[in-house]
Symmetry: C2
Subunit: 537 residues, 2 copies
């Protein structure tokens, strides 16, 4: 490779190898900072202003770059990756519109408290005043879905900006940190990689919080230990279970959870139901709700005549540990305070049996999942209405990890599965995908094909926004007419998922019977690489 010096003449000493001495520009300083800071994957859809960052990828070892056809795929993948890798990936997006296209899944990442180093290209600092067509208020766009935003000012500082972004992303429980990268901070001479500053430890829960929880647990009244974040993932459930066995408290996860490691041999846990009436009913008998990494139970939406807060009137809500605090420590201190017994192995029951006959419906599909989910699988659940009982029916499946849509912004499933598969090349990823939701970011299938990722996408093809049919009634919009019902229907024309998958390079198959579903799913599980099964409902 021929390398030019800064003044444009060829360097005299240029060796014949492909690594040549030369000034490191801002982009390379940033990429090296990322790699040395543990950010090893970049999910991207780049443009002109990001070309120096892209070019730097060939000069720096250790950064995998994964291309998407649409930015929502990249940001959703960054979410899925970090949930599994427990460290952030970066994105690389093209100015304001590129960021905008990624915001919906950054919203999900923010609500899941996923660490993301979100890098957005920008015009050169001196070019912004001219209001070129792609100029927009990138910081303004970034703030609503980011916990940290900074615009680089110079190539000599962009390395330390990147290091600060990593630290912000990794600050517990995890944040979306957006670094805006003006083109000249990438192409001007940089100063090399910068170390990541110290990352603050999680704060410990207060003694008062522990004492309040103890009082509730010893009150003799019904107590719910409501678990989120790290408290629900796996280790925390073991401690919570010890407390429950001692005190009679019940455990319940939030409606949506970033990650739960579960299945046979793990402490089982139910989730707060999504439908407003079921959610209220699930909580109605508790007098004390102890939040451990969870936020207070609230209605997903407001509904006329129904409360926003789901806890029963007169109950107390106690925050033992916020999502930001050290929930494991808080649980251990609480367990000690109530003299909880040691952990006991969870009895492993028989694996759910594969159904051999019956219709292809939500129940039999859930049973199939329970029977066939392979050990170590990562389940990405954007099933919406179709999957309401899948969680319960897979409780005794082989040990696996369950990732959910956390911010309610549909279109996460396919991207999240893509990112999870990048993080976990040795684990099977199974994407439980509602059809309406999947269509938002269906382009991410192409990335699965391009990267040969081991993902099975199961599409629940009911050809409608089924959830909205119920919500029409819930919000009091009764007697909907044909126009309204038309807005909830995806059957004219019917979307042909097998053709869409083929279009993006993924093998697809449509099944309409239970035996066909079982056969197709078993085939996909046995053969690595991306597969899509359109399941007719």
């Amino acid at each position: 490779m021929r390398v030019a010096s800064r003044d444009g003449r060829p360097l005299k000493e240029t060796p014949v190898t492909d690594e040549t001495p030369r000034a490191m520009n801002g982009a390379e300083s940033l990429v090296r900072t990322l790699v040395e800071g543990g950010v090893e994957v970049c999910f991207t859809n780049p443009g002109t202003s990001e070309m120096h960052f892209v070019a730097a990828l060939d000069r720096v070892e250790g950064m995998r770059c994964v291309l998407f056809l649409f930015e929502g795929g990249a940001t959703g993948a960054a979410d899925g990756y970090a949930r599994m890798a427990d460290k952030p990936a970066s994105t690389l997006l093209h100015l304001g519109p590129g960021l905008a296209n990624g915001l919906a899944n950054l919203h999900n990442a923010k609500k899941a408290r996923t660490p993301v180093v979100n890098i957005v290209g920008e015009h050169a600092t001196y070019h912004r005043e001219y209001n070129a067509p792609l100029t927009s208020d990138i910081e303004g766009l970034a703030h609503p879905m980011s916990s940290w935003v900074r615009t680089g000012m110079s190539a000599t500082e962009i390395g330390s900006d990147g290091a600060a972004a990593i630290a912000a992303a990794r600050t517990a429980p995890g944040q979306v940190a957006t670094l805006i990268l003006p083109a000249n901070t990438a192409w001007d001479p940089g100063t090399g990689p910068e170390p990541v500053p110290p990352i603050p430890e999680r704060a410990r829960a207060s003694d008062d919080a522990i004492a309040a929880a103890v009082r509730a647990l010893q009150s003799g009244e019904p107590v719910l230990l409501h678990l989120g974040d790290r408290a629900v993932r796996g280790e925390g459930r073991v401690i919570a279970d010890r407390i429950a066995r001692k005190t009679g408290a019940r455990l319940m996860a939030m409606t949506s959870n970033a990650r739960i490691d579960r299945g046979a041999g793990t402490v089982p846990i139910e989730r707060l139901p999504y439908p407003i009436d079921q959610g209220i009913a699930a909580l109605k008998d508790f007098r004390h709700i102890v939040l451990i990494g969870a936020t207070p139970p609230v209605g997903f939406f407001a509904y006329p005549g129904k409360p926003s807060l789901l806890a029963p009137e007169g109950s107390t809500t106690i925050t033992l540990a916020t999502p930001e605090e050290d929930q494991i420590d808080a649980l251990e201190r609480l367990a000690e305070a109530v003299a909880a017994p040691p952990a006991e192995p969870v009895a492993v029951g028989p694996r759910p049996k594969l159904p051999t006959s019956g219709p292809l419906d939500q129940d039999t599909i859930g049973q199939v999942l329970g029977a066939l989910i392979p050990e170590g699988a990562v389940i990405c659940d954007e099933s919406i209405t179709t999957g309401r009982n899948f969680f319960a029916l897979t409780r005794d499946a082989a040990p696996h990890t369950w990732l959910q849509l956390s911010g309610g912004s549909i279109g996460l499933g396919i991207p999240m599965a893509t990112g999870a598969a990048v993080a976990c090349p040795d684990r099977k990823v199974i994407n439980l995908q509602a059809d309406g939701s999947g269509l938002y970011t269906v382009q991410a299938l192409w990335t699965q094909a391009r990267e040969h990722l081991d993902v099975v996408t199961l599409v629940w093809s009911n050809r409608s926004y089924a959830i909205l049919r119920a919500e029409l009634t819930n919000v009091g919009a009764l007697n909907p007419g044909p126009k309204a019902l038309g807005m909830l229907s995806l059957d004219d024309p019917a979307v042909d998922w097998v053709s869409l998958a083929r279009g993006f390079g993924v093998a697809g198959r449509r099944v309409e019977t239970l035996p066909d579903f079982i056969e197709a799913f078993q085939h996909a599980l046995a053969n690595p690489g991306p597969h899509l099964i359109e399941v007719a409902l």
Copy 2:
């Protein structure tokens, strides 16, 4: 259908139906305000919080509701619709993430100065404080891509809020007006439709501006009349041509233009080239640049060692009329001041001939377009690199309208064509579509099928982000390695557009030779309804 009068009582003449008398809620007040204010189409992807608006559509005559699988389709369609209808459509989007998904094409609409009434659902006002999963800073998201933002406070005011949004959208030259609609402002009792407040007229150009332009035109030095907005569309070009014939000035459109009505018999006009070096070269001989509805020529991006402003050093730039001002009036006054001759009919030359042999490449495709574009066609041009010479080669085509990507946010073509077809059911819409760009919002094909829209999508299938190959060099990222080049390639796997089209219900065909292209294009032109032709390049 039961209809209520403004005071909420049922009208006596209302036929008996299954709907009981009831007060008009906020949603219906808003929908009636929109319809009475001339907003007759709603492009939407709704969710729970928008269900009352959706339900109201069946109680109000005159609002066509067009569903999209992804919000970027809805906002891009609103742009295309308004460019052709010369009045705004509304959108209906689902909270912050739904808005976010629509922002990239709202950016294009903003830069095109297209009027859009952008309606975004929101949690009920009293529910926002509980930070439910879908809660976000919607106003914060809206501001960067909107010129007017308001959050409804009550159902009794939502009608007047909607009326204000229409007035804001229609304020010249056209604005994106975002009205945020909390769920309770939709379901609480409303007060009926509200009239649209007076819309300010365009300001007239100052006499000083006219005088400055006259001095430039009479200086004997080379003058460019740089046309944008209304000055470039059609009528303005006739006046500008009169001025040019009198003074020797040249006419040139901006690089990107919201709408140009052109073809045989109209005043021809070139555009400022996109590539930075060609743009600088095109302007280098002018001593005066007179802006009429155009903004100063600037580089689309910054490039190292190249200027941001493209006008030659020492030249003067004179703003005759801003995009906000009355450009036709300004042109007429200028024509009078220089004693321009009356308009002359533009000679109609022979139609371009259909090429009969040769490779299938940019030149022959351009010739085919020149020969086959039918009279009255609406061309939606997101051709990017492939289409650099299409504009010149269609100069003498049958009279047609040319719409361009105005904000540089790719993914507009398919949605814009969809909206243009809704606006102009009697005109053939032809979408010239780069493949990389088309993949951002490919889901809008489904809406074309659902609505039986008369759109021919021609996909330039070069299977790469071809523009970025040139831009790598332009920004000085020389000698790109395999990782960098991989980020510009869409050929592994190759996207199969015919399968994608089929998946969304649109008839598709791939062509690899010139005769096949001609035959397929002629077939698509002769048969109404959506067609997609993947053109192998």
